[in-house]
């Protein structure tokens, strides 16, 4: 890690925030951006956060960072990162796909695994990250898997994300008004599709067919079953992390609608971190 600032006492930071470090890992001539959230507490485990698909990333960023900080304040060292071609990582989006992004998770897991002291590694995926993390977990990466809002498959996820294209078209009268199936047909016929600033290639759509959630059974060299959980989220957490449903905090007749950017998710965060602690304790006993 480079670039460590000295701690200034005038800076107001809470918990483990002063330890957070952003940097890059090298992977196939690209720079993979990551942020490490170390903990000031005795280390319980390491959590690798595998984030959602590119077009969802900016809309989930604030609660995702909040979740990383919550975990760090509860004794977990957390790493979150951007897939190649997305966000702060380098590379062109269209040059990568699900296998490359899966390799990115694997690369980060190896990096975390090499840190000392050795503690259990939890893979926690959101959306596409849950889909890819689940596949890696089945291949033996990580000790615990936690999945939030996994899509049934990569194709279903892309199909869902095409709604963004439709909504943009709706506000552009001169734009071509195609259905999602027509756009899929375009991809299958070899055309590239721009969706929310990213170019989807026919290769991305073709590769998506291979990624289906939950079809691989977790394997282990020791014969012990490793914990794998697809969490059920409450309405507020599902809304914040997946855009699911309307604003659950809105009161009927409460005047002008207000959108949520930083709701209090501590109830859900506490419940999840307690589940992680209990699962780690059980794993230790077994």
């Amino acid at each position: 890690m480079t670039n460590s600032p000295s701690r200034d006492n005038n800076i107001k930071l809470s918990g483990s925030e002063h330890l957070e470090q952003a940097d890059y890992l090298s992977i196939d001539r690209e720079q993979l951006y990551f942020v490490l959230h170390p903990t000031i507490l005795p280390l319980r485990g390491r959590v690798l956060l595998a984030g959602p698909f590119a077009s969802e990333r900016p809309h989930r960023y604030i609660p995702w960072v909040g979740w990383a900080r919550h975990l760090a304040n509860n004794g977990f060292e957390v790493m979150r990162f951007d897939y190649r071609g997305v966000g702060e990582s380098t590379g062109r989006f269209e040059d990568f796909g699900f296998q490359s992004w899966s390799d990115d998770i694997s690369h980060c897991a190896n990096w975390l695994h090499s840190r000392s002291p050795a503690v259990p590694l939890i893979i926690h995926g959101l959306g596409m990250g849950a889909l890819l993390g689940d596949r890696l977990f089945a291949q033996g990466v990580g000790d615990i898997l936690l999945a939030w809002l996994p899509p049934k498959s990569a194709r279903e996820m892309l199909y869902e994300q095409l709604k963004l294209k439709l909504s943009n078209n709706y506000s552009l009268p001169s734009s071509e008004h195609k259905t999602r199936d027509q756009y899929i047909a375009c991809l299958e016929s070899g055309a590239t599709l721009e969706v929310e600033g990213h170019n989807w290639t026919p290769g991305l759509w073709a590769e998506a067919a291979e990624f289906v959630f939950g079809i691989s059974e977790p394997t282990t060299s020791t014969g012990c079953e490793r914990p794998r959980c697809v969490a059920e989220l409450d309405a507020l957490t599902a809304h914040s992390f997946g855009g699911v449903g309307p604003n659950p905090l809105r009161k009927p007749g409460g005047g002008q609608p207000m959108r949520l950017v930083n709701p209090d998710l501590s109830a859900s965060f506490n419940a999840t971190s307690v589940w992680l602690e209990e699962t780690l304790a059980k794993a230790e006993v077994s």
Binding site: P58, E88, E194, L260, N262
Partner: protein
């Protein structure tokens, strides 16, 4: 080549990214004359790469032309720690009211000193463009130019008691939306059916007439006046910074969506979208057939091209 930055600025820890080809070969940075840097700010609640990674793609282009380009998350946004409100509209309102002005001023001074720059071109998107414009208030010779993408002139309405009173009347945006809706309803058989059966949405018609009366009254009040009456939600502080930039002839590039509604929006605040003003060093481009995020319909490419051309024409390497 990118480098992750964490700087302690004005009581905050700010996370950012530097795009600089000199990072790849530091020898290139040994030229005698200091370089000009570019600082880009995100819009609203978005992280510093912006929606659709527009911010990072602009920075990549400028890096290719030899301009070290910085992108930073303001406090509480992206990777930077800090407190932000629960509701989005309150966050937007805070940003438009200048919540990021002090960290921006301190950041500009720090970057110029830390990287031995000749000065900075400061840019931003939407609310970030408003913050970028507030850099003018620093009255510093180190601020060399502005890049404003889709700047917001109106203050956002919120349910907060302190701001709701000031912003209660119909805004330019909401009036335009209502007029658009009117045309939709006139062409809708269902709407006529509801009207004839007495089930019409009277609240809609009442609000529309109120808005039109308010709009007409303001237009009539402006007849013969040298200083036009601006809409009630106008961000006067932002417009003062705009006027200061024009008086100082600070090179400014504005890029906005080239739609009739967006043009009407800017004209309502006394601006001339799409019209350059060489006397005040203003360049204004409109991009047709795109949305506010400036990604679709070739917007992403067009924005990058305009910024690249404008920066390299106005700020030559020495």
């Amino acid at each position: 080549m990118r480098k992750a930055l964490q700087l302690e600025i004005a009581g905050h820890r700010l996370f950012g990214t530097l795009h600089d080809r000199a990072l790849l070969s530091p020898m290139q940075n040994n030229s005698a004359s200091p370089r000009i840097g570019v600082l880009l700010l995100s819009f609203g609640q978005q992280p510093r790469s912006w929606v659709g990674d527009l911010g990072s793609s602009i920075a990549d282009r400028l890096e290719g032309f030899g301009y070290p380009t910085f992108r930073f998350d303001m406090p509480g946004l992206g990777d930077s720690p800090g407190d932000i409100p629960v509701h989005l509209e309150e966050l937007w309102r805070d940003i438009l009211d200048g919540a990021h002005e002090a960290p921006l001023h301190a950041l500009c001074e720090d970057l110029v000193r830390r990287y031995s720059l000749k000065g900075l071109v400061v840019g931003g998107f939407c609310g970030g463009a408003v913050t970028a414009l507030y850099a003018v208030n620093l009255r510093s010779p180190l601020i060399l130019g502005l890049v404003l993408l889709e700047p917001e002139i109106a203050l956002v309405r919120t349910n907060s008691p302190t701001t709701a009173i000031a912003a209660a009347p119909l805004t330019v945006d909401s009036l335009q939306e209502r007029i658009d809706l009117l045309w939709l309803r006139i062409s809708s058989p269902n709407s006529w059916r509801r009207l004839l059966s007495g089930k019409s949405d009277f609240k809609f018609w009442l609000n529309l007439w109120y808005g039109l009366l308010d709009f007409t009254a303001r237009k009539l009040s402006n007849v013969g006046r040298r200083t036009k009456l601006l809409p009630p939600e106008t961000n006067h502080r932002m417009l003062n910074s705009w006027l200061l930039a024009r008086r100082r002839r600070l090179p400014t590039l504005v890029i906005s969506v080239g739609s009739p509604n967006r043009s009407k929006y800017y004209r309502a605040y006394g601006l001339q979208p799409g019209v350059p003003d060489p006397k005040t060093a203003l360049e204004w481009f409109e991009i047709p057939n795109t949305t506010h995020a400036m990604l679709t319909g070739g917007g992403k490419e067009a924005v990058g091209m305009h910024i690249e051309n404008w920066v390299s024409e106005n700020f030559h390497h020495e």
